[in-house]
């Protein structure tokens, strides 16, 4: 493969079937050296199976995995230089911190003095130099987390896999660990592959994110691209919050699509090149709450670059800077919009009549594949 040395991990046409279930279905991706790559998807989308194949605990049905340019399909898990931080960390409770970190080095046959220096170094790098003699149950949640990472990093792996390691932590600690993980990744300069169903974890920490659904990658890209330029309806619905309508195409040109929603509302959407849509197709339309401006005044917007809608304030969802308003539109649908709540007299109140508007360019439109029918 060309430029094989630039990638720490390459997966080509990877498949894993369990009976008739396609847990991982024809997934290909490359991860550049030293980057933070996240695989984001709902529970049961196959992300854990994918990771277990990379670690060697499952054998792929088809496809190939290259680490640093070499295929590892015939390498048993204990010989792969891919280390893993487990969901519940799987620290060894019968050993103290030092022995936990030294375990891998001992397996590799390192000398006692080498083990001593390496363990001390790695503990310093994770800023826990004094815990070597402590038992695992004496550590706090965040410390356990860092020891689990240190236990892998001391072996200098080509790729570090992290399987939702923040899931067991409380909210405050989780926020702090997100930043810390990112810093640790920079410091060790190792490729991290982070598996999660929590989009904020993926978006905050990653250089690149892959969105996985039903065993396939829907889109791989930088976090801001996934958020602002989703390729599919699933990505638009899964990443970030959005208001969604179902509708049909009534007219289109190169740049814009005119659609009518099922509730009879006409909207103009930005056109995605290569979306393959034609007149009459069923579509899903998405608008992010932060692009909807909700104003008290019922003056129709004169500009024709905006979609507009009238409604009544149903409730205010106050959450500091992230406050939202729920507006019931005149045809009965609830729409979320970001607002600023200043505490002054101009704030929206429940029952106020409002006019909402948003730019055509912020209205995303995708072919309806039936993903949202059940809801």
């Amino acid at each position: 493969m060309t430029n094989a040395q630039d990638y720490d991990l390459e997966c080509t046409n990877l498949m894993k079937h369990f009976g008739a279930v396609r847990a991982v279905d024809d997934v290909s991706f490359n991860i550049p050296k030293g980057s933070f790559f996240s695989i984001l998807g709902p529970s049961g989308c196959g992300k854990t199976t994918l990771m277990r194949m990379i670690a060697g605990f499952e054998n792929p049905t088809a496809g190939d995995i290259h680490i640093k340019g070499n295929s590892v399909l015939n390498t048993p898990p204990n010989k792969r230089n891919v280390k893993m931080v487990f969901q519940h960390l799987a620290l060894f409770p019968m050993m103290n911190v030092y022995d936990n970190i030294a375990y891998g080095l001992k397996c590799n046959g390192a000398s006692a003095s080498e083990i001593k220096t390496k363990v001390r170094d790695v503990l310093e790098r994770i800023a826990l130099p004094d815990v070597a003699k402590r038992e695992i149950h004496q550590l706090s949640g965040g410390q356990k987390q860092r020891i689990a990472i240190a236990r892998c990093m001391v072996l200098d792996p080509d790729v570090l896999l992290l399987d939702e390691p923040l899931g067991a932590l409380d909210l405050k600690l989780r926020e702090a660990m997100k930043i810390e993980l990112k810093l640790l990744q920079h410091q060790f300069n190792t490729t991290f592959i982070y598996i999660t169903h929590d989009q904020s974890e993926a978006l905050v920490m990653s250089d690149h994110v892959a969105i996985m659904n039903n065993g396939k990658f829907e889109q791989i890209g930088r976090p801001e691209d996934l958020y602002h330029k989703p390729d599919t309806a699933f990505v638009a619905g899964f990443v970030g919050d959005s208001n969604r309508w179902n509708g049909n195409v009534i007219a289109m040109d190169d740049k814009q699509i005119k659609v009518e929603t099922d509730t009879g509302l006409a909207m103009v959407c930005k056109r995605n090149p290569n979306d393959g849509l034609s007149d009459g197709d069923a579509v899903n339309i998405f608008v992010r709450p932060e692009f909807i401006a909700a104003k008290k005044t019922r003056t129709k917007s004169s500009k024709d670059t905006k979609n507009t809608m009238d409604g009544t304030v149903d409730s205010i969802l106050f959450n500091g800077a992230n406050s939202r308003v729920l507006v019931r539109s005149d045809n009965g649908q609830l729409i979320e919009a970001d607002i600023v709540v200043t505490g002054g007299a101009s704030d929206l109140r429940s029952g106020d009549a409002v006019n909402m508007s948003w730019a055509h360019a912020q209205t995303m439109c995708f072919a309806d594949k039936g993903e949202f029918d059940a809801k």
Binding site: N78, H88, F92, C107
Partner: protein, 288 residues
Amino acid sequence: MQSDIKRLSLILLFAPFALWIVLLIILPHLGMVVLSLREKVAPRVYEFGFGNYIDFINEPIYWNTLLRTGSMSILVTILALLIGFPIAYYIAKIAGRRSRGALFLLCLIPLWVSDLIRAFGWILLLRETGVFSSFLQWSGMVSEPIEFLYNDITVVMGLVYTVILFMIVPLVSTLDGMDDAMVEAGYNLGGNGFTVLRRIIVPYAMPGIVSGCIVVFMMTAGSYLTPILLGGKNSSWFTEQIYDQFITRFNWESGAAFGFLLLAFTSLVVWLGLKLSGQTLANTVAKS
């Protein structure tokens, strides 16, 4: 008022247990201590003294029997552990959720039949005119009947069969609590199968191993039926000596002393085992 009721209910709840311990365990043992410290000087004349214990030390056949019982019990314990560990590991970690219950039940079923009946089952199979011997003659492999009973191998095998369940149960319950991810982490960090077993699975299962070993050792050393029925007169099991003193020779004083010597000896072995494995009673037997 409230605290009086609390105290009363505590006393009532505690009473059956306390009565059981005091009346059926502590009092009889105190009686045995007193009995074992009486020396017979003339018919129906007794004196306080350690004569019964001194007799034990002076007669090699007594302490040889005790040592033999102890070492064979240790052998039985080791065999039960070696055979029971893979079975427990299979039940707890490898078998599917549904077959796990069935397998566990299969291990339990033999317990529904009394020791005596099971020992007679072995006798039917192994005696000179039994199933094995007849089969070997019928198939022409041997020309005359073979006696499989009344040797040490049969005794050890019979004992392992009787006690192995008490090894499997605590092992299954400890191994059940082990996260599969721990074993995977052991491999992931570079360990091979042997390293993972030695450094992760066995240390994790240590409380179960120790408590299983203690139970099995105590049961084996104190067992009477199996060694007598399968080993016959040659079995020289220490419990047989105690029985002889009490029933055949009607020497209760000496029998009581032997009983205490057996208790002291097995306790010593268990204590040594705990010291060597670095475990305590509190985190092994009390846990599982």
